[in-house]
Amino acid sequence: MINIITKGRFFVREYLLGNAAIARGLLEAGVGLAAGYPGTPSSEIIESLVDLKGDRPVHIEWSVNEKVALEVAAGACWAKTRAVATMKHVGLNVAADPFMTLAYLGVGAGLLIISADDPYCHSSQNEQDSRRYAQFAGIPCLDPRNPQEAKDMTAFAFELSERFDIPVMLRPTTRVSHSRSDVALEPLADARVLPGGTGSQAKTHDGRIAPGFERDPARRVALPIHARPLHTRLLAKQQKIEEALQDAPWNRLRLAVEADGRGIIASGLAGLYAEEAIEKLGADLSFLALGCYPLPTKKIEALLRHVREVMIIEELEPVVQEQVERIAAQVNPSVKIWGKGFIPREGEFDPLLVRNAISRMIGLKETSAPTCAPPGILPPRPPALCPGCGHRAAYYAMRKAFGKDAVFPSDIGCYTMAVNMGTVDTCLCMGASITLASGIRFGGEDRPICCSLGDSTFLHGGMTGLLNAAYNKARITVTILDNSTTAMTGHQPHPGTGFTATGEPTVRVSLEELARALGAGLVETVDPYDLQATLECFRRAKEFSGLSVVIARQPCVIKSRKSGKARRTFRVSGDCIGCGTCVKFGCPAIEFREEKAAVNALCTGCGVCAQICPSSAIEEVRI
């Protein structure tokens, strides 16, 4: 951090992760409640808030899922406290129900929804574009290009939300949330309620509006009789919001010296790539950088009148392009538009892709990228389950007990990486393992079905599926791979851990009791490191005539390592016959050297390989 005094103002600059910058923006805006569900690339927003909040009275929670998070945030804003719900893009699908109707009902204090997109699916099952959702709901969307804008937009979003009585979306992408840059900081606010305000509302001692819910059925109860006028009101706001955003600092227009030339319109991060390319190429181009939706029609018109060709650069969906085409039809029908088809609609952009696209339009030579190392030389290095991961042991036993012919619907979490073990037949969305398994059974599948999902995923979206499976008599086995954390996204707590987002002790929900209460006929818990017991448990579950639940409980090895638990040490003895059984198990701690197995330094001492070895050649080193 560096402190600089410029013109009497105190500036602080810090090298911040985009998500940390967003957390900073939330506290600068005086947010009073933050609720989210972990999901890459959004998770560090809540975590950074916990680190930053100090003794400010901010309620921060990991919610059970995104729908819950958004509803909790909506309630808080209706109690006149600025609130935010954070999630990854696919989480917004889970929250879509409250999301769509909140646009009608409006806010109390400001309400911000952060939906972090993931072009290229770095850590996601699809690359949907949240700008479409904002457009669908009719709410404003802010599309930051870097951590600085992400922070500034976060603070601005609350004012916008309160001014127009509407939720606002911030849509960072992976390359904003997970980029870092030097960010100029403002002081943190300490208020959690609306600053100022007029009228008869209750005030705190310093003149701020006091928090609390006020009855207002016409704006809080979405009965048809209320929803109809609210829809009209929502539509009427759109024009006013657009006018208000027209000159927002993130919509920047620069017209080329020469008229009738070429121009670029680019949104969010794509605008940063485009600006760098224009600078690098030294081209005289008109340029409109966009950061706010609804888009600034007048600025787009001004650019379209000034050029004969325009390129639209935006990642994923042609949201800007569609509007530019509509405006062009009115103000300059002969303008040539370079858009999707010419620039990819899928994947993420990079500086070279954008520079080359612009070069093509203006007739300059493209820069060819150096070729990658020839294929075949380098061994692939895919992400994999950690050495000693309990999931690997559970899946090994599951496959042995159910046989390779069984059907294994799976879910979203670390364990999806075990796709090569033959126990991950499906991955659709959070919690879908149980419901897909039920549907596969009811659809006519007669073979054994054993589905699996993690503890956090079960609590997020699996419980309703289990209830449904019990109610509708699905004869399946559900395995909860319980590593007692939300591992893939960075070890966030959940209701089964007994701790809140801020580390406070809380009720620890029992998965066993929950499964029984939801109607499972057989519920058993095993330690997957005990291979024989796990095998027998899976066999009983397979033979069970109704709905069975196996809870395979072994804390995440990364968490155990950090907690400094003592490890056992293993080695391969002279009895190794080089059969390769242990190597096929796939643990990175087992290697093959000169036709024999060897345990390397990655070993965490789980001892599962020693139980697998048919020659009993892997033994514990006793000191």
């Binding site: 890459t40 690339p41 600078e279 500086p351 520079r355 190392a373 994999a384 950690c386 893939m488």
Partner: protein, 195 residues
Amino acid sequence: MRTSECDLVIVGVGGQGVILISDVIGQAAVLAEKPVCGAETHGMAQRGGSVINHTRIGCSYSPQVAAGSADLLVALEPAEALRFSHYLSPTGVALVNTRPVLPVTVTTGQAAYPPLEELIERLGQRCRKAIAMDATLLAERAGTAQAMNVVMLGSLSRFIPLPEELILEALSKVVPPRFLEANRKAFALGKAEVE
């Protein structure tokens, strides 16, 4: 025309401490009052997969380095150096830790790990200079193999436009105090390796 003062690509395997290097450089750049930006790998790929980190000193544009334009490729693992070598500018420099981390595809016999000499030779063909060192061994000498990333930081410090004292000041903020001495040693050993 250049749009940054110095472009770095730092690569390795999830868990090796790639992010720490860029965090130190970024904080040092802020201390030097230079704009700085970068992009990181989080999430799924971190689980033992290849990781890449872009860091751009004196730059306020894209967080990603364009392919073919990295002034410096810093690799904490030799195969990863070659995997990401297309980011190197032909006039760039590669700094490589020679200690391999075998991927699961190799330990399970599905793929072979290429000979180290071949990796370094191919890398050398793609840039001005490839410098290989056993950074893990140097870190062990400094007191802890964990400080391998700081050995690499020490050697790369010779190639970036930031004063050493600011890099060390940033390092002292990032590393826990009880490991600072070992890390300062690791830094010095890395630096000496390229002098």
